[in-house]
């Protein structure tokens, strides 16, 4: 039996539902030396801002049982350098390219999305969920009003489809998702990291300079799954499930919870070939179970 892993995400065809999550895959180059990243459904770029950003000082990474805390702080080369230096390299791979954009203020998001209008991209992922910058970003994703207003403006500016990456720290993530849909979003991705902290008892201070950081990895998977399920029930635009997906079984859970696509984050650090293994694992499972297309099992719960 031939099974079909392809997914229709609005008008865009993805060859399979496995997408590399923003901030865990750079611009793909490092992983392309390990496997053919063109086998992935898509790649989300490192979070981009209008101007280059150096990121946060101090410790940026801390491990916790079944999870990782990070406080990278959106280090990135800026939109212009991305278009000039990174995007042409990414275009060599036969995969969908999603530019993740963040900002401290509304104006930054608008200008960033304008600059990307002439870039050969498949989608924009609006990052209103990064907990590691002092201004903006997650602040937009906390309430439905601020999220909806920003999405409306970006939809007005951008010629690319716009998906919105939500934060589990929102007051009510389902309402934020609904507000994004009402504002014209083409899709929702969730969840970004959970705002968390760590303490160094020897030093008697917070591990991170920003005190709070973002928790990812298997520790957050059950929460992510519940939120994806709730959002999928509430909106009719397609959803990308993210949060602690380590293997094909986890990926299938998110599909059954209603996600169209899934993103692999922390797993890329644990095993750089995680994306490749998840694609083949999903295919094997479908063949074994006689599932011809993911539509048969999507959202069955």
């Amino acid at each position: 039996m031939t099974c079909d892993l392809s997914v229709k995400f609005n008008y865009l065809d993805f060859k399979n539902p496995v997408v590399a999550a923003s901030g865990t895959f750079g611009f793909g180059e490092e992983y392309s030396r390990i496997y053919d990243v063109g086998i992935l459904g898509g790649i989300c770029t490192k979070g981009l801002t209008l101007e280059p950003k150096e990121g946060n000082n101090g410790i940026r990474l801390w491990e916790t049982p079944m999870g990782v805390l990070n406080s990278i702080g959106m280090e990135n080369p800026g939109i212009e350098a991305f278009i000039k230096n990174e995007l042409p390299k990414m275009k060599k791979w036969d995969t969908r390219i999603i530019a993740n954009i963040g900002g401290a203020a509304e104006e930054e998001y608008i200008l960033a999305s304008e600059m990307l209008n002439n870039a050969d991209l498949d989608m924009i992922e609006l990052n209103i969920s990064c907990p590691n910058v002092r201004e903006g970003c997650m602040a937009f994703g906390m309430k439905e009003k601020s999220a909806g207003e920003l999405v409306e403006k970006i939809k007005h500016t951008s010629r690319h489809p716009v998906i919105v990456k939500l934060t589990p720290n929102a007051e009510n993530i389902v309402r934020v998702a609904e507000a994004c849909e009402a504002a014209g979003a083409d899709g929702i991705s969730l969840i970004n990291t959970v705002k968390a902290m760590a303490v160094d008892i020897k030093e008697r201070k917070a591990v991170f300079e920003n005190i709070y950081a973002g928790l990812s990895g298997p520790a957050i998977k059950p929460i992510a799954l519940r939120m994806v399920h709730e959002v999928c029930k509430a909106v009719s635009i397609p959803v990308i499930g993210i949060g602690g997906i380590m293997n094909w079984k986890d990926a299938m859970e998110f599909i059954m919870a209603g996600a169209h696509l899934i993103q692999i984050g922390t797993a890329n650090f644990v095993n750089p070939e995680a994306g490749k293994k998840i694609v083949s694992g999903m295919k094997d499972y479908m063949e074994k179970e006689g599932i011809k297309n993911l539509d048969e099992i999507r959202g069955i719960i």
């Binding site: 901030g23 750079g26 490092e30 390990i34 410790i59 940026r60 990474l61 990278i72 298997p218 644990v270």
Partner: protein
């Protein structure tokens, strides 16, 4: 996966791990060692201590949960191994000082060994500083022209940087900074290998990003070896 052939304690919390297989690598490069499936999730970056034939050795100290679990592994067990990663020390010529402090000694064994065999090298003087005890006392002399060690003091006091064509260092920041400053004064190149918390080990996650004179660099991919002035002369 790699088969462990030996993992013995050689000092206070310090171990020498030996794995079998076909490995590559040059001095100053590191491997990502995965000790567990679940916790810790991430691999540990550990530099090459020695690479001979089908044996690869790592010298490490228990610093956290990952290295503690690693220390409990026995011969016959397997560990996850990916690499080699990082740039390693560059090729140098003439009379070379190799300076290590504490666990910074780890990548210097293979470094000295290769330098000593190289026709462009006239002498390899190894200086190691330890805070409590010397590790592998009888091994270091075999791989250098002269060996000097110090316990509890400042090893930099014993290195006449002006007398060398280049210095290769690995150890505490204070040690490498001092060597860099002296090197700059005498117009000598000092290469330092720096340590950082790493996530992916291949340059994607930016956890180990460090400030340098030439902008942010990734310790895992652009380093871990840098020219000292790039790091300490900001």
């Amino acid at each position: 996966m790699a088969l462990i052939t030996d993992n013995k304690k050689i000092g206070n919390g310090i171990y020498l791990l030996e794995v079998e297989g076909r490995f590559k690598g040059s001095p100053g490069q590191f491997y990502m060692i995965q000790v567990a499936e679940t916790y810790p999730l991430l691999s540990r970056p550990i530099s090459i201590f020695e690479l001979t034939g089908n044996k690869l050795k790592f010298l490490y100290r228990i610093a956290g949960e990952g290295t503690r679990l690693l220390s409990e592994k026995k011969g016959g067990e397997c560990i996850g191994l990916r690499g080699p990663y990082g740039n390693g020390y560059p090729s140098v010529k003439g009379k070379i000082a190799v300076v290590g402090g504490g666990m910074g000694a780890a990548p210097l064994y293979e470094t000295c060994k290769r330098l000593k065999e190289h026709p462009d090298i006239t002498a390899v003087d190894l200086y190691l500083g330890f805070s409590e005890e010397i590790i592998l006392k009888n091994e270091w002399e075999k791989v250098c022209s002269s060996f000097f060690y110090d316990i509890g003091g400042m090893i930099t006091k014993h290195v006449d940087v002006a007398d060398y064509d280049a210095v290769l260092a690995c150890g505490p920041d204070i040690m490498m900074k001092k060597l860099t400053e002296t090197g700059k004064k005498h117009g000598k190149k000092v290469y330092v290998s720096i340590e950082s918390r790493m996530g992916c080990g291949i340059g994607a996650c930016l956890s180990c990003s460090c400030k340098t004179a030439n902008g942010n660099k990734k310790v895992c991919k652009d380093g871990p070896v840098f020219l000292g002035v790039e790091i300490y002369d900001l």
